[in-house]
């Protein structure tokens, strides 16, 4: 009994409520005429689509930089990569990995600068990250208009310059991962093998990294920077590394998202991508200074499950679309919960 209580305390009520809510949605689904196989397929698809973006938050949380509200920087690096890949007419796997390759230098550069900045403002990282992200998104909005892209699929037809708000990747690398070794069962169920394999690969790499010497040092910096310093580890360096990795994964994550979603979304689109990712990892059980692979996978699944199932099930019951409101309340409520949770005494 006491164990149960402790478990609940540790895990937190909001998460348990969300968990049971999701389960009840799945149970209810068949009764209100929602196909379960289609729903599960949908959830798996969206899980794969978002998982790497959520994974990108792990290193910074581990290194004590808090929730990366500046993930938009990584996403922008990814956008640069994918637009360049389209510009050079790269198709298929070539196009997909080409996009990642193009994104790499941008991600590393942005991540490095961003990391250096965050080192200068320790303690205020989260608010500043948010606004650095926002202002960079706005700067890039101008860039999308003036950069000399000229591929006809990407620029506005009538003006002949300036990128469109959404660009289809249909003739390039749409669903390149989703369809790789995909398993079809029946009309409605598709298992996106390639996508999940790629997500698994990334998560495994992260797992390996966290077990390396550098990864261990990074975790120690997040856990107690003074301890790490006394052990000869430079906390600034570790924090910078964590930010670079986070930014890079953000870039990879958005490219994976695009191939599954089918479109590249530019301009102000990167900003709203960040909060759901943050909410997902928190729902998975992470706090603002500890996160694990399990948190990422469970959290993404729960959150995306919730987002997929609420519209279909709730709408069938109530005959109205409340999913948007539920999404806002759940995701922001979750972040709020994590921020106000009394920090464990670590000093």
């Amino acid at each position: 009994m006491r164990n149960m209580k402790e478990f609940i305390q540790e895990f937190g009520w909001p998460r348990i409520i969300i968990f049971f809510f999701l389960i009840s949605l799945f149970v209810l689904a068949p009764f209100v005429g929602v196909r379960l196989d289609a729903s599960i397929s949908d959830v798996l698809n969206r899980f794969g689509q978002y998982a790497i973006l959520v994974l990108a938050l792990v290193p910074m949380i581990q290194a004590g930089c808090g929730l990366n509200f500046g993930l938009a920087l990584g996403i922008i690096a990814g956008l640069l990569g994918s637009t360049l890949s389209l510009q050079f007419e790269l198709k298929g796997f070539m196009g997909f990995f080409g996009a990642i390759a193009f994104a790499t230098p941008f991600a590393l550069l942005l991540g490095y600068g961003y990391g250096k900045l965050l080192n200068k403002v320790k303690g205020e990282e989260m608010t500043i990250a948010m606004y650095v992200g926002f202002s960079f998104v706005m700067l890039m909005c101008i860039m999308w208009l003036v950069l000399p892209f000229n591929s006809p699929t990407m620029v506005w037809g009538f003006a002949g310059k300036g990128l469109r708000t959404t660009i289809s990747v249909e003739y390039y690398w749409i669903k390149i991962l989703n369809n790789f070794l995909a398993i079809r069962i029946g009309r409605f169920f598709v298992f996106p093998t390639g996508l999940l394999l790629f997500v698994g690969f990334c998560a495994f790499c992260m797992w390996l990294f966290l077990r390396s010497k550098t990864g261990t040092a990074m975790t120690a910096v997040g856990s107690n920077p003074d301890f790490a310093r006394a052990s000869g580890v430079s906390s600034d360096k570790m924090r910078t590394i964590s930010v670079v990795i986070s930014t890079y994964l953000g870039a990879v994550g958005i490219i994976v998202y695009q191939q599954s979603f089918g479109f590249i979304q530019l301009y102000t689109a990167p900003s709203p991508m960040v909060f759901p990712a943050v909410a997902a990892i928190l729902i998975g059980g992470a706090s603002i200074n500890k996160a694990s692979m399990v948190n990422v996978l469970v959290g993404t699944f729960l959150f995306q499950g919730l987002l997929t199932m609420t519209p279909s099930v709730i709408n069938s019951i109530l005959q109205t679309d409340m999913s948007e409101v539920i999404r806002m309340i759940v995701s922001n409520g979750m972040i709020l919960y994590a921020l106000t949770r009394k920090m464990k005494v670590s000093k």
């Binding site: 926002f134 706005m138 102000t268 900003s271 709203p272 909060f275 679309d321 948007e324 806002m328």
Partner: protein
């Protein structure tokens, strides 16, 4: 004791404030409540009174307007007590009446000929089947988390 006295006074003052709050709310509701009055100059269907052939009608101190048979115009007024002043061109006769509108009515019709003929009721509720529905009908826009101030400064300000 002094403290008890001042506490009592505080309670009195605070409850007065509560009453004041309610009072202001009610006063604002009463005086600020808008009513649309349709001024009508039509003959009765049963021909019991006739439309006035040329007159000017003024509600309170608003701008007066001219009416010929069959005309209908509307004015928006605040509050419930109003005066109507009618000046008939032909006879030069001026007639003034005051009236009290029911608080719950948003739109009323005032028939001047009926009033001049001395028939009650010369004003009454006017129900309009959703005539005002003009603005576009959309549900919530997606992406509330989006930011960007696209909408903020769109309405031009008229000095």
């Amino acid at each position: 004791m002094k403290a008890a006295g001042s506490r009592k006074r505080t309670i009195v003052v605070r409850s007065c404030l509560g009453a004041f709050y309610v009072a202001i709310l009610v006063i604002m509701l009463l005086t600020g409540k808008r009513h649309t009055i349709l001024i009508d100059n039509k003959a009765a269907e049963d021909a019991s009174y006739e439309a006035v052939d040329g007159m000017s009608v003024q509600i309170d101190s608003l701008k007066s307007s001219e009416f010929y048979p069959g005309d209908r115009d509307k004015v928006v007024v605040s509050g419930q007590r109003h005066k109507v002043k009618v000046e008939i061109f032909n006879s030069g006769k001026v007639e003034e009446r005051s009236f009290v509108l029911p608080l719950g009515q948003d739109m009323l019709i005032l028939s001047v000929p009926k009033m001049l003929a001395g028939k009650e009721p010369w004003f009454g509720p006017f129900t309009l089947q959703q005539e005002q529905r003009t603005s576009t009908e959309t549900t919530v826009e997606g992406g509330e988390m989006s930011f960007g101030g696209e909408v903020v400064d769109t309405a031009p300000v008229k000095p």
